[in-house]
Structures are given as structure tokens and as C-alpha cells.
């Protein structure tokens, strides 16, 4: 599908959905009586898609193995919650029309920008590193964020923040996920975005062909972090409670698993994997302690049977007809 058409359709779908199924206000619209449990799962799915698609830009398309995605998510979650918690009762805003959506939009933007700034801060020094070393630095970064938050009294320390206004709706989540899919998808299907793939495949050759590898790697980190921050904000305003423990190393691994199962560098595959793994997570809720075992087994089986991921390289499945000669 043409990327622009995709964005348009998903935004229309998102606004329709958010109009029909407003999660939190007891609704007047008959369609709104969607099972709240199903609604929850759908929102979590959207957040996970956002996380996986954005990490895929860094790990899959640009080939920079990052293990710190939860750190960017934490920055987004905390900064947005801080904003909405301090402004929601502000008397000056009480009479503002569309106060909640405006406030939430500002919170999402703040979350994305601050996380992107952190992505820039991690990206630049990490560029001299590759593979395992880069993975360790990003892992360390994620943990530093978590520990800093844990020790910041203003952010609730280890107890976390509570009472975050429930501003996240299915529509917001859908719209943000669509925006991430559109951004990543249309980037990698452009001549500009082909630079990411060139950097991943052979940095030395890319540089020799005049592709500024440093700029591409930093851009991947910044964009990935931006969407992770938004995902964090959506999550915080959905659950209503955040604590540093929720953004630990295992959270980053969860996202990496989605990317690997979906197929590094395949936006469609990663989207599907994120949705499926969210469902699997729910199915395993009864047997929470075995969840990681199932995930590990799934990873091993994938590595053996389909190392390229669920969809792998789609273009090889559907070669453009006019191109075959």
C-alpha cells in the first residue's frame, strides 16, 4: 500500500475508533460497549507495536544493536506524567476547551522530544562501538535511567508515580502506532532511507560512497527513542501508575524479542509479532512464572526454523511483477 494512503486511512480509523470506543467514560454510544478487557489488550498491543517498530529502525534497519529501549520509554513515561500531574488541576486550564486532548498531545510531544534528546546523548558517544559493545553500552544506559529515577524523590523514587490521569485511549494509541509505522515504513522505502540499510550492510562501503554513516546512526537512535518516549507516555496514561521497575532490562529484552520474532528490518513482520506476543502474554497470565520460558523456547525455535523472522524479507515473496523480466 502507498505509505501516504496508509497514514490517511489509519488516522481516519484511529479517530473513528476513538470516537466509538472511548475507554473510560461510560458511554452513550451502543458500539462503545466493547469488553474492557479486550480494549485493554488492544491498547497494550498498540503500545507494543509502537515500541517494536521504533526499535526495529535501530536494530533492524540501521543494524545498531540497542538494548536500552526501556530507558527511552521510561523518560517518556515520567516526563509526560510529570507534566499532566502538575497541570491537570491547574486553575488556569480548567475552562480551556478540549483541555484533556490538548494536554495529552503536549505530554506526548514532550515525552517524544525528551526521549529523542536522550537518544542523541546516547547515540553520539556510542557510534564508535559496534555489535556487542554497543549492546552493552545501551543496556548500561537503560539501567542508569532507571536507577536515576529510582533515586529521584520528585519522581516518586522506587514507589513510582500514581494517580496519572487516564488520558490514553485506543484512538490515541492507534494513531501513534500508525504514525510510527508510517515514518519508519516510508523512510526505508525512500532513497534517503536506503542509507540506513547501506550502513547496516557495510559501513565502510557506505562511507566510501559518500553516505554519512554517523548521521544515519544518530538519526536512527533519535527517531527510535522519540517513538519509545511516546510509547512510554501512552503506557503511563493508560495504566495510571508507573514505577522504575517497570522499565528494567527485561522490558528492553521483551521489545528485542518482538523485533527478532517479527524479523529484523521487516516493519510488517514486527507489527504482527508485537500483536501476537501481546496476546501470548495475556494467555500466559495465569502461569506468569513460566512466561519467560515460553518466550525463550519461542526464540530458539525461531532461530532454528526462521532466522529471518515471521515475514522475513517480504519483497522476496512478492516480487513486483513489472520488474520480472
Amino acid at each position: 500500500m502507498r505509505p501516504r494512503l496508509f497514514l490517511l486511512l489509519s488516522l481516519v480509523a484511529a479517530s473513528t475508533v476513538s470516537f466509538l470506543f472511548t475507554g473510560h467514560s461510560a458511554n452513550h454510544w451502543p458500539l462503545a460497549q466493547i469488553d474492557p478487557y479486550a480494549l485493554n489488550i488492544l491498547v497494550l498491543m498498540g503500545i507494543n507495536i509502537l515500541l517494536a517498530v521504533s526499535l526495529n529502525l535501530v536494530n533492524g534497519h540501521a543494524g545498531q544493536f540497542s538494548l536500552g529501549h526501556a530507558g527511552f520509554m521510561a523518560i517518556g513515561a515520567y516526563s509526560s506524567s510529570f507534566l499532566t500531574l502538575s497541570l491537570q488541576k491547574h486553575p488556569a486550564l480548567a475552562t480551556l476547551p478540549f483541555r484533556d486532548p490538548l494536554l495529552f498531545a503536549a505530554a506526548l510531544l514532550l515525552a517524544g522530544l525528551l526521549a529523542a534528546l536522550a537518544g542523541l546523548a546516547v547515540g553520539i558517544p556510542s557510534l564508535r562501538l559496534r555489535g556487542d559493545y554497543l549492546a552493552i553500552v545501551t543496556l548500561g544506559f537503560g539501567e542508569i535511567i532507571r536507577v536515576v529515577i529510582q533515586n529521584a524523590e520528585a519522581l516518586g523514587g522506587a514507589r513510582g508515580l500514581t494517580g496519572i490521569p487516564p488520558l490514553t485511549s485506543l484512538g490515541w494509541t492507534f494513531a501513534m502506532a500508525a504514525l510510527a509505522i508510517y515514518t519508519v515504513g516510508s523512510l526505508v522505502q525512500s532513497s534517503f532511507g536506503r542509507g540506513f540499510l547501506a550502513v547496516r550492510d557495510d559501513e565502510i562501503a557506505a562511507e566510501a560512497m559518500g553516505i554519512p554513516t554517523t548521521r544515519y546512526k544518530v538519526l536512527a537512535f533519535v527517531l527510535g527513542a522519540f517513538f519509545a518516549g511516546i510509547a512510554g507516555a501512552l503506557y503511563a496514561h493508560f495504566i495510571g501508575f508507573i514505577a522504575p521497575e517497570g522499565f528494567n532490562f527485561l522490558k528492553s529484552v521483551d521489545i528485542v524479542v518482538m523485533v527478532i520474532i517479527g524479523g529484523m528490518g521487516s516493519t510488517a513482520g514486527v507489527t504482527i509479532a508485537a500483536a501476537l506476543l501481546t496476546l501470548l502474554n495475556e494467555l500466559l497470565r495465569q502461569t506468569e512464572q513460566y512466561r519467560m520460558i515460553v518466550f525463550a523456547l519461542l526464540l530458539i525455535v525461531m532461530m532454528i526454523l526462521r532466522p529471518q523472522g515471521l515475514l522475513g524479507d517480504l519483497s522476496r515473496w512478492f516480487p513486483k511483477r513489472k520488474d520480472r523480466s
Binding site: 525512500s190 547501506a198 550492510d201 557495510d202 565502510i204 562511507e207 566510501a208 559518500g210 519483497s315 513486483k320
Partner: protein, 261 residues
């Protein structure tokens, strides 16, 4: 400004720790000139390439591009000036198709950037179409257009080497550095390659610096040849002069061997 050579390597020395890889090398390349760089294994030919393309910075001496110093700049900046290379051990973008390998090299000529790719307006579509057709055109010159949508790794070895040349040409270089383009090719392919290098030199008006082991290819193509041994330039001249130069013969063959190379 008086006419300076396209590329001038001026007294360049590179040391890796105690090892002197290239020592006081000087070489000039004029526009549209075909220059060969030969020498036994380990003579410093590839190091010289890496110097010119910015992979290494010289320990001493300087490299001038149209009179302006370029030594120590990043490889992507040097490529942007018009110095582009191929690699001795093939370095294609392995997961991309043949066509996409070429299209990736259009980066230097790209006008729409990040926001253009997101906006996808008419100008973006036009530029993409232009790049597509120009890349195909280049592939056509090399007879690779039928393989355009194959994964580049599926090409035979000789074609992969030629694809590297196509990719380099896509950046519109003014100086093309070819690092052993004939390596691993059979005699027929080598003859073809010789013709091809001459052809692209004429058609695109390039200067070419060629590192090659195959003497027939070098002698055939090059107007001027420089010979390296142990990082030093031991001779420079026309193919005729090089063929007869006793130091070159000694470096390659040892003494007392007839020079019928």
C-alpha cells in the same frame, strides 16, 4: 589559479606503529588520466588507496584535491568531492538487490532528505523515478539490467566486481579508484574488463587510478604507471618505460629474467 593536477599526493608517509606502510610517496593524477599503481604483495598499494579515500590519515605529507588539502577528512566527505573507490575484497550491500546497491550510491546527488521522504510529494516521486531510471541505465551499460532485482549476492563473482564499479559510477566520481578489478576473473572476462574501463573513462570523462596484479590489464590500459615496493615508489613512467626498467624487473622477478611481461 594555475592548473593544479586533479589529485596530488605529496611526500606522504604512513606508519602503523613501527611499520612504515607507505614512505614518502608522491604521485600526481591529471584529469581524465589512466594511471596504474603496481607492486608486489604488501607493497602498500591498498594503503595508498586508503589514504586517498580518507580511511587513513597520512602520518606525514599531504594530499591535495584540485589544489586543496583533503587529507584527514572523513571518507564520505572525500567521496562527496568526487573520489570514489571499489574494494579489493568485494563490499556490496549484501542484503540489497542489485538495483538497490546502485540506488544507495545516489545519496550524494539526493536533494530530498528526511522530510522529503516523509512528505512523499510530487518532487519526491519525481526524484525517485529519476534515480530508478538512471540506476537502470547504468546497469544497462554493464549488461546487468536483467539482474536488477536479484539479490546482489546471487551474482557470479565477476558480475559482483562489475556491480561495484557501477555503484561507484552512480556517485558521479571524477576520480575512480579501482582496487584489483580483475582479481578472480578469467581471461575472457579480463579482456572485457579492459574494454570496459577504457569505455567508462571516455564516456564519463573520469580519471582512473588502477591497482592491479594482472600485468596485461595494466599495461593495456594505463597511460602512466607507478611502481611501489616496500612502500616506496621505485619507478614511474609509461608502460614501455616500466616494462624495461631494471628495478621493476628485479622487484617482480628477481634478476636475470627476460622481461616479456
Amino acid at each position: 589559479m594555475n592548473r593544479s593536477p586533479l589529485l596530488e599526493i605529496r611526500n606522504v608517509t604512513v606508519r602503523f606503529g613501527g611499520l612504515v606502510a607507505v614512505s614518502e610517496l608522491s604521485l600526481q593524477i591529471q584529469p581524465r588520466e589512466l594511471v596504474g599503481l603496481i607492486g608486489p604483495n604488501g607493497a602498500g598499494k591498498t594503503t595508498a588507496f586508503n589514504l586517498v579515500t580518507g580511511v587513513y590519515a597520512p602520518s606525514e605529507g599531504s594530499i591535495l584535491w584540485e589544489g586543496q588539502p583533503v587529507s584527514g577528512q572523513k571518507p564520505s566527505l572525500i567521496a562527496a568531492k568526487g573520489i570514489v573507490r571499489t574494494f579489493q575484497n568485494i563490499r556490496l550491500f549484501g542484503s540489497l538487490s542489485v538495483l538497490d546497491n546502485v540506488r544507495a550510491a545516489f545519496h550524494l546527488r539526493l536533494e530530498g532528505g528526511f522530510w522529503g521522504a516523509l512528505r512523499r510529494d510530487r518532487r519526491f516521486e519525481q526524484e525517485e523515478a529519476l534515480i530508478h531510471s538512471q540506476a537502470l541505465e547504468l546497469l544497462q551499460i554493464f549488461g546487468l539490467e536483467n539482474a536488477a532485482h536479484l539479490p546482489c549476492k546471487s551474482l557470479p563473482y565477476g558480475d559482483q566486481r562489475r556491480l561495484e564499479i557501477v555503484r561507484a559510477l552512480a556517485t558521479r566520481p571524477r576520480l575512480l579508484l579501482l582496487d584489483e578489478p580483475a582479481a578472480g576473473m578469467n581471461p575472457t572476462e579480463k579482456v572485457e574488463l579492459t574494454k570496459l574501463i577504457r569505455f567508462i573513462q571516455e564516456r564519463f570523462g573520469l580519471a582512473v587510478l588502477l591497482v592491479e596484479h594482472d600485468m596485461r590489464v595494466v599495461m593495456d590500459i594505463c597511460q602512466r604507471i607507478a611502481v611501489l615496493e616496500y612502500g616506496r615508489k621505485i619507478a614511474e613512467g609509461t608502460p614501455e618505460q616500466i616494462r624495461k626498467d631494471p628495478r621493476v624487473i628485479a622487484a617482480y622477478l628477481g634478476e636475470e629474467v627476460p622481461s616479456d611481461a
